[in-house]
């Protein structure tokens, strides 16, 4: 289990980004971190990966302070533009001992990415696909997805959403931030609502539907409009 405890982050005395954020991400579940822009969702993911230093708090995976069993898929292109997709895959394979080349090749085929395509020439959607295939091929039990559906066309969204319901997700603990709730609503197991860097509600999505009789998106509207 991925455990985040008492995470605090501020930029100077006036700007608190995260206030005592604590939650867990179990395996075999998709946990969705929901909040408006600037609420600290991406900061949490980056903090988990050690990309943003925090003022306080602990991040543990199965009791250990490490992020070696987490893969992070950011919402930006992170491979150098001069590389081709094939070179990017080969590059990552060399660094990650658990790299699953079969998954990488399967996803390249599924996403219709050519190994010879230069990253710099790819569309935003295709860059997102490259990020995603790298994340899955790392073959790590926990996966952090930062806005995987943002700014991409309908068909790419459908392809990515299909991946989220496929066998590639089996056994993994997923933490995802997204504004595109409708596309993934049926896949979400748990929802964490974030406001001003504080968790204001944490729910099992099934229970939430039963308890409030509303979808995650409706509930989100209710939470943030009141």
């Amino acid at each position: 289990m991925l455990e985040v405890r008492g995470l605090r982050k501020s930029y100077g005395p006036k700007k608190n980004v995260l206030n005592d954020v604590s939650f867990t991400v179990p395996l075999n579940q998709l946990t969705c971190l929901i909040g408006l822009n600037g609420e600290g969702k991406s900061t949490i993911l980056k903090a988990i990966m050690g990309l943003v230093p925090v003022d306080a708090g602990t991040i543990k995976v199965d009791g250990k302070t490490t992020h070696d069993s987490i893969a992070f898929v950011p919402d930006l292109s992170t491979m150098p533009g001069y590389m081709s997709v094939g070179e990017a895959v080969a590059y990552m394979r060399d660094y990650y001992p658990d790299w699953d080349q079969q998954v990488a090749e399967e996803l390249m085929g599924f996403f219709k990415l050519m190994a010879t395509d230069r990253i710099a020439n790819l569309s935003k959607g295709n860059k997102a696909k490259v990020n995603l295939l790298i994340g899955f091929a790392m073959n790590r039990p926990y996966l952090l997805l930062d806005e995987p559906l943002a700014g991409i066309d309908l068909f790419t969204k459908e392809q990515i959403a299909w991946i989220f319901s496929s066998h590639y997700m089996e056994g993994k603990g997923i933490l995802m931030t997204t504004h595109e709730i409708a596309e993934v609503e049926h896949l979400i197991d748990r929802v964490i609502f974030l406001q001003n860097g504080t968790i204001i509600q944490e729910d099992d999505s099934e229970e939430m539907r039963e308890l409030y009789g509303k979808s995650v998106q409706d509930r989100m509207r209710e939470v943030y409009q009141t």
Partner: protein
């Protein structure tokens, strides 16, 4: 170790075209400048002989003697200065392109398995490899320029001198002395590490705090240096050789401090 070699190889590959272009440009300008200086000298000589009706020897005297190799390579010092400037700019760029480039490669670098110090070492090695390349190419260019100078200028118009003549800039660079080469590389290492410290400090703190931290680190170098100099001028407790030893020891301690700080910032402070 494998990660270090892979990262260094990638860094070199990423900048090699740009590096080669700059190097080629510098070499072309340097060789052209030698041709220009020699032809310009000969044309001045001919003009003098025609206008003043002087013999060649008299005209040479009027031009303060034959053209030395130092005069012919007069522009080299500017080219070397440009090379140094490019190296310093590259030391900034090698980091900033990963943060501000079209792809945010810094995400990948910081998330790679293993220790982050490897990232620092690979970037440092890349810049140093380029510095060594620059020195090597300068050596070759100086040799080629000498050939060009001897080929273009009649022998009696050449000033007898060793290969680099009197040019201080060339004397500094064109050295086969191991210690001199080591000193140049050590100086380059020091300056590059300083630049890395500035970048990592800027990437670790907010603007005001970053500026203060950089100012503090510069003061930590400058103030003790001035204080030591003042102390040595005021008292005569150490002979010059001992003073050099004290300065060197201080620089070594400072270098250890900035290296440690770079690693610490990269491990615990930098943010994306």
């Amino acid at each position: 170790m494998k990660k270090f070699f892979m990262l260094s190889n990638e860094e070199i590959k990423r900048s090699f075209k740009l590096y080669l272009s700059i190097l080629t440009m510098l070499v072309i300008v340097e060789l052209t400048s030698v041709v220009y200086q020699v032809l310009h000298y000969q044309s001045k000589l001919e003009d003098l002989m025609k206008k003043e009706r002087l013999t060649e020897m008299e005209a040479v005297d009027q031009l303060n003697g034959p053209l030395t190799f130092g005069d012919a390579t007069n522009y080299f010092k500017y080219m070397i200065a440009i090379g140094i400037m490019f190296t310093i700019l590259y030391a900034f760029q090698i980091w900033y392109r990963d943060w501000y480039g079209e792809s945010k490669y810094i995400y990948r670098l910081l998330m790679l398995p293993g220790k982050r110090i490897t990232i620092l070492l690979s970037k440092l090695t890349t810049v140093l490899v380029f510095v060594c390349g620059f020195m090597g190419i300068q050596w070759i260019t100086i040799l080629l320029s000498r050939r060009l100078y001897e080929w273009l200028l009649p022998e009696h118009l050449q000033a007898a001198s060793k290969i680099i003549g009197e040019s201080a800039a060339l004397n500094m660079l064109y050295t086969f002395n191991v210690i001199d080469t080591f000193v140049i590389l050590a100086l380059a290492l020091f300056v590059i590490t300083m630049v890395f410290l500035f970048v990592l400090t800027e990437r670790s703190y907010q603007k005001g705090k970053a500026l203060l931290t950089i100012a503090k680190d510069v003061a930590l170098l400058v103030v003790p240096f001035i204080a030591l100099r003042y102390l040595f001028d005021l008292t005569s407790m150490l002979i010059p050789n001992q003073q050099v030893f004290v300065y060197l020891s201080f620089i070594l301690i400072y270098f250890a401090y900035i290296s440690w700080k770079c690693v610490r910032l990269l491990n615990h402070k930098v943010s994306i």
